[in-house]
C-alpha cells in the first residue's frame, strides 16, 4: 500500500504550489486545483479503506497493522528517534475516510461560500495545509510524529481562524486558539518526554518488558498527554478557544472546528487506548469525568446562545465530551465486557463528523443568505431555502439521536457503555442527550420557523445557496441518513476482534423518550412566533440565563489571569527589573568608574608643585611602610 504516501504528499504539494504562486494564480484555478487534489486524496483514502478492510483479518481475527512507510527523521541518541511514516490500522483508516470526505466537501462548498473573497487562493492553500497535517496526524506511526502534525494542524487552524485578518475579533480569536492549545500542548510535550524516557521509544506499542519498570510514570505521561488532547478537543476548562474560533470562515469551522481537528484529542486517547486500559485505567476514568462535565456545561451554555455558530460550537464541545466519556468509561479491552465504549466513541466520531459538518455548512448557507450570525436576523427561512432546511433538519434529528438516523446508533452505543460503567453516568449522559435535542431544535425553530425578520428581509430577500454549496449538503445528509446502518463494530473495536453491534433496546427506548421530550419542549417553546415561555423563563431565572449566556464567565477568568496576572504581575515587573536593576547595576559600574577617574584626575594636573607634593608624599609613605615591615 505504498501509494498511501500520496495521501500526504499531494495536499502538501498543493499547499506549496498554491501558496507560492498565490495571486499569480487565478482564484478559480487555485480553487479547482485544491479541490481536484483533495478529490484524488479522498479517492485514494476510499481505495485504501476498501483494500485494507477488504484484505481480511489475519489468523488472530484482527485487521493487521500495516506500516507501508517509515523513515527516521530526527535521532535523539539511544533508541529515541522521531520517525515519519504511515501507519494503517482500523482507526487510522477510518479517520482517513472521515477527513478526506469532509475536506473534499468543504473544498467544493467553499467555491460558493468564498466566492469573490480577497485571498481566495490563500484560503485554498491553507485548506490544503490543514488537510495534509490532519491526515499526517492520524496516520502517525509514533507519538512524536503525532505531535509534529498536531502542531501543524494547530497552526493551520490559527491561519484559517485569522483568515479575515483585518477583523479585530478574528485576530484575537486566532491568537487565543493558538495560545490556549499551545498551553495544552506543553502538557502533551512533557508527557511525550516522560513516555519516551521511561518506555525507551516513542512507539505506540512499547516493549511490555520495559513498561513494567515504568509503571509509576506511565499514568503521569498518559495524563499529561490527555491535557494536550483536552486542549485540542476543547475540554473544560481549555474549551474557551473554540467558540471564538467561529470567527473563521464557516466552511473552516465545519472542517476544522467541528469534524476533524477538534476530535484529535479523542483520537489521541483512542490511539493510546491499550496503554490507558493496561496501565492507567484510573486516568482513563478521570477523562470520563472531564468529558461528562464538559458535555453538561457546553449543553447548558448552548441552550441560551444567540449566535448560530456559537450554538453549534458549544454543541460540538458537548458532543466531543460524549466521545471522551465513552472512551473513559471503558474498563477492559474486550468489547463484550466493558470495552464497548471504544467502538461507540469511534462510531460517534464518524457520524458526528458527518452531521456536524452538515450543520455547519447549512449554517454557512443561512449566514450567506441573511448576512448575519444572529438568530434574531433569521426566522421563517424554510420558505426561502428548502434544501438547506431539509438537510439541516436531518442533521438536527441525527444529533438529537432519533431513529433511524446515524446519531441514534452511535449515541445509543455510548449510552449503553455509560450505563455499563455506572448508572449515574448513564443517567447524566442521557439527560445531556435530552438537552442536546432541546437546544438543537431551539436552533432549528429559531432559524426556519417563528417570526420572520421582515425589516431585514425587505432590503435583502434570503435565497437558496448555489449548487456548489447545496451538493455537499445533500451528500452529507445522505451519509447521515444511512451511516447508522454501517456495521461499524465489524471494522473497529477495542480489541480488534469483530464486534456485532446490537441495540440495547432498554437504553434506546429511554434515550429516544428523552430526545423526544427535548424536541417536544423545544417545539412548545419556540415553534410559535411569540416565545412567551422562553422569554418568561429567561426573565425568571435571569441570573442563571445571564451567566450561561456569558458562558459562566470562564473567558473573563482567563482574561483576568492573562492580563492582570501574567502581563501585569509577571512580565511588566520582569521587564522593569531588567531595565532598572540588572541594567542599572551595569550602568552604576560605569558611573562608578567615571567617578573614580574624576577623583584621580586631579593628580595629573600638569602643575609641577602638585607633582612635587605627590612625589614627596609618596616617597615618605613608602619609606614608612618599608620601615614598619
Amino acid at each position: 500500500m505504498e501509494y498511501t504516501i500520496l495521501i500526504l504528499l499531494l495536499p502538501f504539494l498543493s499547499f506549496l504550489l498554491i501558496g507560492l504562486l498565490d495571486s499569480r494564480l487565478k482564484p478559480g484555478a487555485a480553487g479547482t486545483f485544491g479541490t481536484v487534489v483533495t478529490g484524488i486524496v479522498a479517492a485514494l483514502s476510499y481505495w485504501t479503506a476498501f483494500s485494507y478492510f477488504g484484505g481480511g483479518r489475519n489468523a488472530e481475527g484482527l485487521f493487521p497493522t500495516m506500516i507501508p512507510w517509515n523513515a527516521e527523521w530526527l535521532p535523539f541518541g539511544g533508541n529515541l528517534h522521531i520517525d515519519l511514516g504511515i501507519l494503517l490500522d482500523p482507526i487510522s483508516v477510518m479517520m482517513l475516510v472521515v477527513i478526506s470526505t469532509v475536506s473534499f466537501m468543504v473544498h467544493i462548498y467553499s467555491f460558493g461560500y468564498m466566492k469573490g473573497e480577497r485571498g481566495f487562493q490563500r484560503y485554498y492553500a491553507f485548506l490544503s495545509l490543514f488537510t495534509m497535517s490532519m491526515l499526517g496526524l492520524v496516520v502517525a506511526t509514533n507519538i512524536f510524529q503525532m505531535y509534529i502534525f498536531w502542531e501543524l494542524v494547530g497552526v493551520s487552524s490559527y491561519l484559517l481562524i485569522g483568515f479575515y485578518y483585518t477583523k479585530k475579533e478574528a485576530i484575537a480569536a486566532s491568537k487565543k486558539a493558538f495560545i490556549v492549545t499551545r498551553f495544552a500542548d506543553l502538557g502533551f510535550l512533557i508527557g511525550i518526554l516522560i513516555y519516551g524516557f521511561y518506555t525507551g521509544s516513542f512507539s505506540f506499542t512499547p516493549d511490555s518488558a520495559v513498561i513494567g519498570s515504568a509503571k509509576v510514570f506511565l499514568p503521569i505521561a498518559l495524563g499529561l498527554m490527555f491535557i494536550g488532547g483536552a486542549g485540542k478537543s476543547a475540554m473544560f476548562p481549555l474549551h474557551i478557544w473554540l467558540p471564538d474560533a467561529m470567527e473563521g470562515p464557516t466552511p473552516v469551522s465545519a472542517l476544522i472546528h467541528a469534524a476533524t481537528m477538534v476530535v484529535a484529542g479523542v483520537y489521541l486517547v483512542a490511539r493510546m487506548f491499550p496503554l490507558f486500559i493496561g496501565y492507567a485505567p484510573e486516568v482513563l476514568h478521570i477523562t470520563a469525568y472531564v468529558g461528562a462535565f464538559t458535555a453538561l456545561y457546553a449543553a447548558v451554555v448552548a441552550c441560551v446562545q444567540s449566535d448560530i455558530k456559537r450554538v453549534l460550537a458549544f454543541s460540538t464541545i458537548s458532543q466531543i465530551g460524549f466521545m471522551i466519556v465513552s472512551l473513559g468509561v471503558c474498563t477492559s479491552a474486550d468489547p463484550h465486557e466493558g470495552g464497548l465504549g471504544y467502538m461507540a466513541s469511534m462510531f460517534h466520531l464518524f457520524t458526528h463528523a458527518m452531521f456536524k459538518a452538515l450543520l455547519f455548512l447549512g449554517a454557512g448557507c443561512i449566514i450567506h443568505a441573511v448576512h448575519s450570525n444572529e438568530m434574531s436576523a433569521m426566522g421563517g427561512l424554510r420558505k426561502y431555502m428548502p434544501v438547506t432546511h431539509i438537510t439541516f433538519l436531518v442533521a438536527c434529528l441525527a444529533i438529537a439521536g432519533i431513529w433511524p438516523l446515524s446519531g441514534f446508533f452511535s449515541k445509543d452505543e455510548i449510552l449503553a457503555a455509560c450505563f455499563g460503567f455506572s448508572p449515574v453516568m448513564g443517567w447524566v449522559m442521557t439527560f445531556i442527550a435530552g438537552l442536546t435535542a432541546f437546544y438543537m431544535f431551539r436552533l432549528y425553530y429559531c432559524i426556519f420557523w417563528g417570526k420572520e425578520n421582515k425589516e431585514l428581509h425587505a432590503e435583502h430577500t434570503p435565497h437558496e445557496a448555489p449548487l456548489t454549496m447545496t451538493i455537499p449538503l445533500i451528500f452529507l445528509a445522505v451519509v447521515t441518513l444511512f451511516a447508522g446502518w454501517i456495521p461499524f463494530g465489524e471494522f473497529v473495536s477495542s480489541n480488534g476482534q469483530a464486534y456485532h453491534i446490537h441495540i440495547d433496546w432498554a437504553v434506546a427506548a429511554t434515550s429516544l423518550c428523552v430526545a423526544a421530550a427535548g424536541i417536544a419542549i423545544a417545539t412548545w417553546m419556540y415553534l410559535r412566533e411569540d416565545r412567551k415561555v422562553a422569554d418568561g423563563l429567561a426573565a425568571k431565572f435571569s441570573g442563571l440565563h445571564k451567566a450561561a449566556y456569558h458562558r459562566f464567565y470562564i473567558d473573563e477568568i482567563y482574561q483576568f489571569v492573562t492580563h492582570r496576572i501574567i502581563f501585569a504581575c509577571i512580565s511588566t515587573p520582569i521587564a522593569w527589573f531588567d531595565r532598572h536593576v540588572v541594567d542599572g547595576f551595569m550602568n552604576m559600574l560605569a558611573w562608578l568608574s567615571n567617578q573614580c577617574s574624576w577623583l584621580i584626575k586631579g593628580m595629573q594636573s600638569g602643575n609641577v608643585q602638585k607633582y612635587g607634593i605627590w612625589f614627596l608624599g609618596g616617597a615618605l609613605g613608602l619609606t614608612v611602610i618599608l620601615l614598619l615591615i
Binding site: E72, W73, L74, P75, F76, G77, G78, L80, I82, F144, Y147, I148, F149, E151, L152, V155, Y158, G162, Y165, T166, K168, I171, A172, S174, K175, F178, I179, R182, F183, D185, L186, L189, I190, L193, I194, G196, F197, I566, F567, I570, S571, T572, I574, A575, D578, V582, D583, F585, M586, A590
Partner: protein, 494 residues
C-alpha cells in the same frame, strides 16, 4: 593552502578590494563576489567534511594545519574543523551573504561600513576555524572591535551609548576569557596552546579548574547573553544597523555558546561537572526571563533581543546538560537561532527603513501594504515559536529530549521550566504579529509604502530556505553534529 585559511583570507581580500573601489557599484560588486565566494566555500566545506568522514577519517579535527607564530608562548596559528565548526561556518557564510544584501541601500560611508563588516567576518571565521586558544582569542577580539564603530557610526537612536555599553561589557567578558585561557595554559603545563592537545593532557588540577571554569564560562557567557550579563543585547541590537544586528545576533552570539562548550567545558571537565548547577539555574532564568520580558516590549528590536536572550539561554542550558543529545540540540539551536534571528532583524530593518518607526503601537495592518515582508515575518515568527517543519522545532525538541535524559529531580524540574518557554514564545510572537501585521492600517503615511525590492527579497528568501531546509530534513545536520559532539561529551564525562 588549507581551505580553512581561505575563510578569514577572503574577507581580508574583500577589504582590499573595497579599499580600491571607487563607487557604490564597485563596492557592491566586491561584496557580492566575496560573500558568494564565502557561501560557496562554506557549502563546499560541508561536502568535503562529510566526504572525509565517509572515507573513514575519524580524527576529531579534520583539515588541520598549523605553524608557530609566537614561540615564547607556543602560540600557533592552528586550524581544524569538526562538525560543530563546519555548521557554524556555514551559518556565518549564510549570514554574511544575506547581510550584504540587507544593507544594499546603505547611503553614507558605504565603503567604510563594508570594510568594518568584512573585518568582523574575518574575526568570526577565524574564531570558528581556530584550534589554538590564543589565536582563537585574537580572532574573538577582531570580531568585537569593529562592532563598536559599526554601531557607534552607522547605528540609530542612542547609538553612542549602546555601542559603548556593548563593547565595554563584551570587553569585560574577553578580559575574563584571557585570564581563563592563560590559567588553562599554565595550569595544564602544556607546551602548546592547541586545545585538543591540552584536553588530551587532561592534567589541570581540580582546585584550579574550579577557579578558571566560572571565569571562562562567564566570559563567553556574556556574549552568549547569559543572565544577568545580557543587558548589552537589547540596547546594542536596537541601535545597530540591520546587517550588524544580523551578524551580531546571528553569529557573534554563537561565539559565546561555542566557546563555553569548546573551551570552558571541554578543557575544564571536572569543574564543569561540579559547578554546572549554578549555570543551569542562570540559564533557566535566561530562558524564561527573556521570554517574559519580550512579552511587554514595544520596540520590535527589543522584542527580538529578549527573544534572543531566551533562545541563546537555551543553547547554554543544553550544553550544561552534558549529554550528546542535548549538546547536539545546542548546536542545532545555534544554527536555528542564528538563521531565525537574522531573518527577524533583516525584516525589522526593512520595515523600519520604510516606516521609520519600530514602535509596535504605531504600526498596524502592514499585511496589506507589504504582503511579502509580512508573510516572511509570520514565517520567522512561526520558526521562532517552534513550528515543526522549520528549524526551531528540530533544535528545541532535541534539547528538551536530551535534557530530559538526565535522570534526577533538579534537571527534570529545570527542563520542565525551560519547556514552558514554548508557550510564552507563542504569546509574544502572536501578540506582535497580531498588532503590526493584521488589522487595518490607520496611518495614512504608511499606505504609500511599497513592498520588498529584489535585493531584500533575495536576502529573506535565502534565510527562509535555510530555515525550512534545516527544519524539513534535519537528519544529515544532526548526524554531522552529534558525531563531533560525542568525543567532547565523553571527554567531559570521563
Amino acid at each position: 593552502m588549507n581551505i580553512l585559511s581561505l575563510f578569514p583570507a577572503v574577507p581580508l581580500l574583500m577589504m582590499l578590494g573595497l579599499w580600491v573601489s571607487r563607487n557604490t557599484k564597485q563596492i557592491h560588486a566586491v561584496m557580492v563576489a566575496g560573500s558568494s565566494l564565502l557561501l560557496g566555500l562554506a557549502i563546499a566545506l560541508v561536502f568535503i567534511f562529510l566526504g572525509m568522514r565517509a572515507d573513514g577519517q575519524t580524527a576529531e579535527m579534520l583539515l588541520t594545519d598549523s605553524f608557530m607564530w609566537y614561540r615564547p608562548l607556543n602560540i600557533e596559528y592552528a586550524v581544524g574543523v569538526d562538525g560543530i565548526s563546519v555548521a557554524m561556518i556555514l551559518l556565518s557564510a549564510i549570514i554574511v551573504f544575506t547581510g550584504t544584501f540587507a544593507s544594499w541601500k546603505m547611503k553614507d560611508g558605504v565603503k567604510e561600513f563594508f570594510m568594518w563588516f568584512c573585518l568582523l567576518s574575518v574575526g568570526v571565521f577565524g574564531f570558528f576555524i581556530s584550534v589554538d586558544l590564543f589565536t582563537m582569542f585574537m580572532f574573538y577580539e577582531v570580531a568585537l572591535i569593529p562592532m563598536y564603530l559599526l554601531i557607534g557610526v552607522w547605528g540609530t537612536g542612542r547609538k553612542e551609548y549602546s555601542a559603548m555599553k556593548l563593547t565595554l561589557m563584551l570587553m569585560g567578558g574577553s578580559a575574563l576569557i584571557l585570564i581563563g585561557i592563560l590559567g588553562i595554559y599554565f595550569g595544564s603545563g602544556a607546551t602548546t596552546m592547541n586545545l585538543n592537545e591540552i584536553a588530551a593532557l587532561h592534567n589541570i588540577p581540580v582546585e584550579m579548574q574550579r577557579i578558571w571554569f566560572p571565569i571562562v564560562f562567564i566570559g563567553f557567557g556574556v556574549l552568549g547573553a547569559l543572565f544577568p550579563f545580557h543587558t548589552w543585547s537589547p540596547d546594542g541590537h536596537a541601535s545597530a544597523p540591520t546587517a550588524v544586528s544580523m551578524l551580531h545576533a546571528g553569529v557573534l552570539m554563537k561565539l559565546g555558546g561555542y566557546g563555553c562548550f569548546r573551551i570552558a567545558m571541554y578543557l575544564l571537565p571536572e569543574a564543569a561537572q561540579e559547578l554546572s548547577w549554578i549555570f543551569i539555574i542562570l540559564t533557566t532564568i535566561s530562558v524564561v526571563y527573556g521570554a517574559f520580558s519580550a512579552c511587554v516590549q514595544t520596540d520590535l528590536k527589543y522584542i527580538n533581543a529578549y527573544s534572543s536572550v531566551s533562545h541563546c539561554g537555551l543553547v547554554l542550558f543544553a550544553i550544561l546538560m552534558m549529554n550528546t543529545t542535548a549538546a547536539t540540540g545546542a548546536v542545532l539551536q545555534m544554527l536555528s537561532h542564528g538563521l531565525m534571528t537574522a531573518l527577524f532583524f533583516a525584516l525589522i530593518g526593512m520595515i523600519y527603513g520604510r516606516t521609520h518607526t519600530r514602535d509596535i503601537r504605531e504600526l498596524n495592518g502592514l499585511m496589506k501594504i507589504m504582503p511579502f515582508l509580512s508573510v516572511c515575518y509570520v514565517i520567522a515568527g512561526l520558526a521562532n515559536l517552534g513550528l515543526p517543519g522549520l528549524s526551531g522545532f528540530v533544535a528545541e525538541m532535541t534539547i528538551f529530549n536530551g535534557a530530559f535524559m538526565v535522570n534526577d529531580t533538579f534537571h527534570r524540574v529545570v527542563t520542565i521550566i525551560a519547556c514552558t518557554s514554548i508557550v510564552i514564545t507563542a504569546v509574544y510572537i502572536l501578540r506582535l504579529v497580531g498588532k503590526i501585521l493584521y488589522g487595518t492600517c490607520t496611518n495614512p503615511e504608511h499606505l504609500k509604502l511599497t513592498d520588498a525590492t529584489w535585493d531584500e527579497r533575495l536576502a529573506v528568501i535565502v534565510l527562509i530556505v535555510a530555515i525550512a531546509g534545516l527544519g524539513l530534513s534535519p537528519l544529515w545536520m544532526s548526524d554531522m553534529i552529534s558525531e563531533s559532539v560525542l568525543p567532547i561529551i565523553s571527554h567531559i564525562l570521563n
